[in-house]
Structure formats: structure tokens, C-alpha cells
């Protein structure tokens, strides 16, 4: 069945998942949805929740085949919790598990063999970087990898579509009552935003920490009333790899050029006025454009009311300088951001659902004026792909991309026209992750394309000297340099689903076909 972004979703996948095809970002606006919750085992003994090992926690939680275990990715490339738990499940002979993680990456490479042996048969995640993505694309996962946005994940959990049997929450600090903090331990991650829905809705909640502190642990981000057990281990994460997600200030002229175009566009837009709200990523061009924009804010005495989303040093610097009033933070990409959220009273922790869930009475993304996002591919329908590489392999994550794109008044994609020989601007994305209806502007090193549905923005840029052009022209430039790419060949088998934030199917990911030259 063809969906609203022109993708053919196989009937058997609709049947297998019970899902509908994507019908537009605002299809369910105003719908009334009942939320589901979980069982609570009443506890009235006032005793310690600390257990001696992950093994004991698994036994106490009644681990058995076919369960769904959840994890957060705040320790990023330094995470040790997911691997430790899965390793123990494997040692206990548990099979047919579903991992429901907020994201996964190369830190999880060691569990790849557990796909083949059937310990893990289904994965839900924002996306999968590293060897697991490759293994899924090559067909090593027996079930499906369902990739959801950060907001979509909260919706799935809250609606009961994803039933988490046991949530494992890596916590930089914990007391024996289960108050969990993100700072003051040995592997600080700043915030525990993506673990919040798990704590609120999972059947059992197990905190894993390497820093057990005396009761009461304040400030806590996840409260002890939600936590069943606490396990202390030697190390939950490698602190040198936790806060390594932000790009260093770039000297790449191509990125600086895009950054300049981007900040000039923002400054010329009707949204750049006192009290605007903003979100940006942590790529080199995004960070540089924030710095250029800050110059413009100083020049015109304009202040940002609110910065939203993942944080890194440049946004914290602007907060300190007084150019930003408040930051609401869901993830910290460097140590400066970790420190800032711990110390600055105007830098706040928010939960994943507050940030981006479509199943709320409005999340923060809907208050965004401007969001700056990256892309692996953008096609001439303005559809964006951030999950599947042009070679057909799963290699990225949705993150908050579709959520912020849907919510923001002005969604700007910043991407070079080509990466190596791969044209970023193309006829049709390998996989659609963010629908073109939510994408307003594409900034490249060869010019800026405005979505024709935004005639107001086209009008607003008429008198600027910005290189405004069409998306087709950008594609033509890209193809004139790289050559027109062949369509990547896939097997029939569907290995993954790109879930839209409302739970419908945006696209499917098929198993890759090994390349061979035709005669």
C-alpha cells in the first residue's frame, strides 16, 4: 500500500505489525488516545532495594524467554549497561528477547553474535549505528528492527504498543531507595531524559549504578517511587567516550560556507526576533551556524527565549552570556553541557516525552521556531533520510529529527551537496525518515532550496543576496559532479521498519543484496 510519502509498504508487514501506513504528519491531530500503564508490586517494608548483581535482578524480575528489555543511550559510545545485561541473559540461556533501546551504536558491537544465536530476535531503537546496523541489514536479526523517533518511542511506550517488561536504567548516582541522579558519579551523562518513559511505564525498573550514594540522593532525575531494584556494578560507562558526541569547531571551508548561508537565512527569516526558540544539532556546520547566529543576536540585540534538545558547549556559552534565557536539555554531547546542566539554574533537565512525544498535550518541539538538522540524503520531494546509508545499510538514527521537523515553524536541513561520491541531494531517498511536508529549507554548499509550499519564506528571501535556487537544480549540480547513482539493489525480505512518530509506517528497510558487476 502506497503511503503519503509515496513508499510502497508490503501488505504482509502491515498484517504482521498491525500497523497502518503513514498518512501525513497531522493525520492524528485531535484524536483521543487512551494511555496504558503497568503493574506495580506493592512494597511496604522500607528496606533497601539494592541487589548484589544483575543476575539477581534478572531472577527477581522473573526473566524469561520473549521478554522486552529497555535501555537508554545517555552514555553514548561509552555505555556498558546494555552489553552487561544482555551478556548475563545469554549466560542464563534466555532467548527471543526484544531490546527496546532509546538508541544503539558501536558500543553495542559485542552483542552482534547474540542476534545469530537467537538471544535477541527483535530490536526497537531510534536507529542503529555500528556493526549491529550492518548485521541487521544483512539479515542476522530473526525478527524486525523497528526504528522510531525519540518522541515516537515515548508514544509507543505510553500507548502500550511497546510493553517493557524490565527497564534497565544506567544511573551515574543512585541511593538504596532508587533515587537516580545524572551527575556526581564516575560516569556522568548530565541528564536521564530518555530513561524517563521507561521508569514511568515499565513493569519492572532496575537501576544500574557504579556510584551508590547515601539516601537521600538529591537532585534526582528519576525518583525512587518508580524503581524496583538497584544494582551496583564496577563501571556503567567509559567517561571518556560519553561526552564525545560534539564536533570540534570546524575550519572546513565548505562547512563554514553552509553555516554562513544558514545563519544568514535564519537572520533574514521572520522568526528571528526577540524571544525566539531554537534547536540545533552538534555537527560541525550546525555548531558553526549557531556561532554566526550569535553574532547576529548581539548585533541586533535579540535574545533566544529557549534552546531545546541535545546540548553542547556553544549553546551553554550563549546561555552564560545571557543571549539565551533557558535551556531544556534531553542529551549532553560534551562535558561542558554535562557541567552546565548540573550547575546552571537556567539549564533544565526535561523528559523525552516533554521534549518530543506526539502523545501529550503538546511537547516542546511544537514550540520551536527554528530547528537546524542534518541529513544523509534529501530528495527532490524534500523527504529526508537519516537512518539508511546510500549503500542500503542501516547506519544512523532518527533521533528527534522527525519530531522537531514536524513541530518547528521553520525546519532547516543543512547538508553538503555530496559526501565523497554520494550525492546528498537526490531523486529519491534510499529510505524516508522525515516527510517532505515537514521540511522547509535545504541549505547546501551550492545554494539554498526552499520548499515550494513555503511561498512566504521564498517571498521573505527575495531581497537578500542568498543563493536561493530549487531543489531540482541542487540535485542536477550534485549529479553533474558525481554521476547519476544506480538504484541500490535489495533482497525482498524486510529487516526493518521506519516508524513515523504517530506509529504508522513511513518506510521499510530491506535486506541488502551483495553487489556484483553485471556482464
Amino acid at each position: 500500500m502506497i503511503n503519503a510519502v509515496g513508499r510502497d509498504i508490503p501488505e504482509e508487514i502491515l498484517k504482521q505489525t498491525g500497523k497502518e501506513v503513514f498518512q501525513g504528519s497531522h493525520h492524528f491531530d485531535g484524536a483521543e488516545v487512551r494511555t496504558e500503564s503497568h503493574h506495580i508490586k506493592i512494597r511496604n517494608d522500607g528496606g533497601s532495594k539494592v541487589l548484589p548483581s544483575i543476575h539477581d535482578a534478572l531472577v527477581k524480575c522473573g526473566i524469561h524467554d520473549g521478554m522486552t528489555l529497555s535501555f537508554h543511550h545517555h552514555f553514548r559510545n561509552g555505555d556498558r549497561v546494555l552489553n552487561m545485561v544482555i551478556e548475563e541473559c545469554h549466560n542464563m540461556g534466555i532467548r527471543n528477547l526484544t531490546i527496546a533501546a532509546s538508541s544503539m551504536g558501536p558500543q553495542n558491537d559485542p552483542i552482534v553474535p547474540y542476534l545469530d544465536d537467537g538471544t535477541i530476535t527483535n530490536i526497537r531503537s531510534s536507529g542503529v549505528r555500528g556493526k549491529i546496523g550492518k548485521a541487521i541489514s544483512e539479515g542476522h536479526l530473526q525478527g524486525l528492527a523497528i526504528m522510531a523517533s525519540h518522541g515516537g518511542r515515548v508514544r509507543a511506550i505510553k500507548s502500550g504498543e511497546v510493553k517493557i517488561d524490565i527497564a534497565f536504567i544506567g544511573a551515574p548516582t543512585a541511593d538504596d531507595y532508587g533515587n537516580l541522579g545524572a551527575n556526581g558519579g564516575r560516569a556522568d551523562c548530565g541528564v536521564l531524559s530518555y530513561a524517563a518513559p521507561d521508569a514511568l511505564h515499565a513493569e519492572k525498573v532496575v537501576a544500574i549504578t557504579d556510584t551508590l550514594v547515601p539516601f537521600p540522593n538529591f537532585p534526582q532525575q528519576i525518583k525512587g517511587i518508580y524503581v524496583d531494584y538497584v544494582v551496583a556494578v564496577d563501571s556503567i560507562g567509559d567517561p571518556t567516550k560519553i561526552a564525545s558526541g560534539a564536533a570540534k569547531p570546524t575550519t572546513d571551508q565548505r562547512k563554514l560556507l553552509m553555516a554562513k548561508y544558514c545563519s544568514d537565512f535564519v537572520a533574514a527569516s521572520p522568526y528571528f526576533k526577540e524571544g525566539f526558540t531554537y534547536q540545533t544539532g552538534v555537527g560541525g556546520a550546525s555548531i558553526a551556524s549557531t556561532k554566526f547566529l550569535a553574532d547576529e543576536m548581539r548585533n541586533r540585540n535579540i535574545h533566544m527565549a529557549l534552546g531545546i534538545g541535545g546540548m553542547a558547549k556553544p549553546m551553554c556559552d550563549l546561555l552564560n552570556e545571557g543571549l539565551i534565557r533557558e535551556l531544556v536539555d534531553t542529551q549532553d554531547f560534551d562535558l561542558e553541557a554535562v557541567r552546565s546542566v548540573a550547575e546552571n539554574p537556567h539549564h533544565h533537565f526535561i523528559m523525552a516525552g516533554e521534549y518530543a512525544s506526539p502523545l501529550t498535550k503538546e511537547s516542546y518541539v511544537n514550540r520551536l521556531d527554528i530547528v537546524i538538522l542534518g541529513a544523509l540524503e534529501v530528495d527532490t520531494h524534500f523527504n529526508v533520510n537519516v537512518v539508511v546509508g546510500s549503500d542500503g545499510y542501516i547506519t544512523g538514527a532518527q533521533g528527534g529529527h522527525p519530531d522537531t521537523a514536524c513541530g518547528a515553524k521553520c525546519t532547516i536541513i543543512i547538508a553538503p551537496i555530496m559526501q565523497g561520491r554520494i550525492p546528498t541531494i537526490c531523486d529519491d531517498c534510499t529510505t524516508v525518515t522525515t516527510p517532505g511536508e515537514d521540511v522547509d529549507v535545504v541549505v547546501t554548499d551550492y545554494g539554498i532550496a526552499i520548499n515550494p509550499k513555503r511561498q512566504d519564506l521564498i517571498e521573505a528571501m527575495k531581497d537578500t543576496d542568498l543563493p536561493i535556487t530549487t531543489i531540482e537544480h541542487l540535485r542536477d549540480i550534485a549529479y553533474s559532479i558525481t554521476g547519476k547513482p544506480e538504484k541500490v539493489q535489495f533482497e525482498d525480505r524486510v529487516v526493518g521498519i521506519i516508524e513515523a512518530r504517530d506509529g504508522t509506517i513511513m518506510d521499510v528497510v530491506r535486506q541488502v543484496k551483495p553487489f556484483s558487476l553485471e556482464d
Binding site: 549503500d391 565523497g420 561520491r421 554520494i422 559532479i481 558525481t482 554521476g483 544506480e486 553487489f515 553485471e518
Partner: protein
């Protein structure tokens, strides 16, 4: 042109390719390993055969390890490897066989 001895040109840096040539057994023997094979594998083979034809090479084992090089880079690396294999470093036919 005759491939007299094994020769290489290029690197395996991103956006480059490493071209190796050696004397063939009566035909063009082409092998390719490319990070963009799925999208550009056939195009790389086409450019390789066109370049070899222009150079008058029809007896060669040529292998390319490609890291996303553009066509112009691939051509240049093939030309480099072929002239090295013939020990020709002077009087190169710029604008002729070398485009």
C-alpha cells in the same frame, strides 16, 4: 600500450582510489572493490574500460580499490599506473591519450 611491469597509482584515502596494473594474459581482467559499488560500480567499470581503450591498453590485469573517487580521479589514477608500468615519465601525451 603495453603493460611491461606491475605498477600502482593512487591511495586508499577517502575520495581517491588505488589502481594496480600488471601484464595480462591476452585480455582486460578487471576487478573492483568500492565503497560506492552499489551506486557506481558499473560506472567505474565503464570509465575504466574507456580510459584503457583511449590509452590503447587491451592486455592487462587491472584492479581498483575505490573509496568514492570521482570519474576524473579514477581516469587520472589509471593513466598514472599505466604510464608507470611502461616506465614512461617524459613526453606524456597531455590532451591526447591523457585527457
Amino acid at each position: 600500450m603495453e603493460i611491461k611491469k606491475p605498477a600502482i597509482a593512487g591511495t586508499v584515502e577517502s575520495s581517491d582510489c588505488l589502481v594496480s596494473v600488471e601484464p595480462g594474459d591476452g585480455k582486460i581482467d578487471f576487478s573492483l572493490e568500492s565503497s560506492v559499488a552499489n551506486q557506481f560500480g558499473h560506472q567505474i567499470r565503464k570509465v575504466t574500460f574507456e580510459t584503457l581503450e583511449r590509452l590503447g591498453v587491451d592486455n592487462v590485469k587491472i584492479s581498483i580499490v575505490d573509496k568514492g573517487a570521482l570519474d576524473c580521479t579514477i581516469k587520472a589514477r589509471i593513466e598514472g599506473a599505466v604510464y608507470r608500468s611502461a616506465d614512461q615519465y617524459k613526453d606524456l601525451p597531455w590532451g591526447g591519450a591523457i585527457q
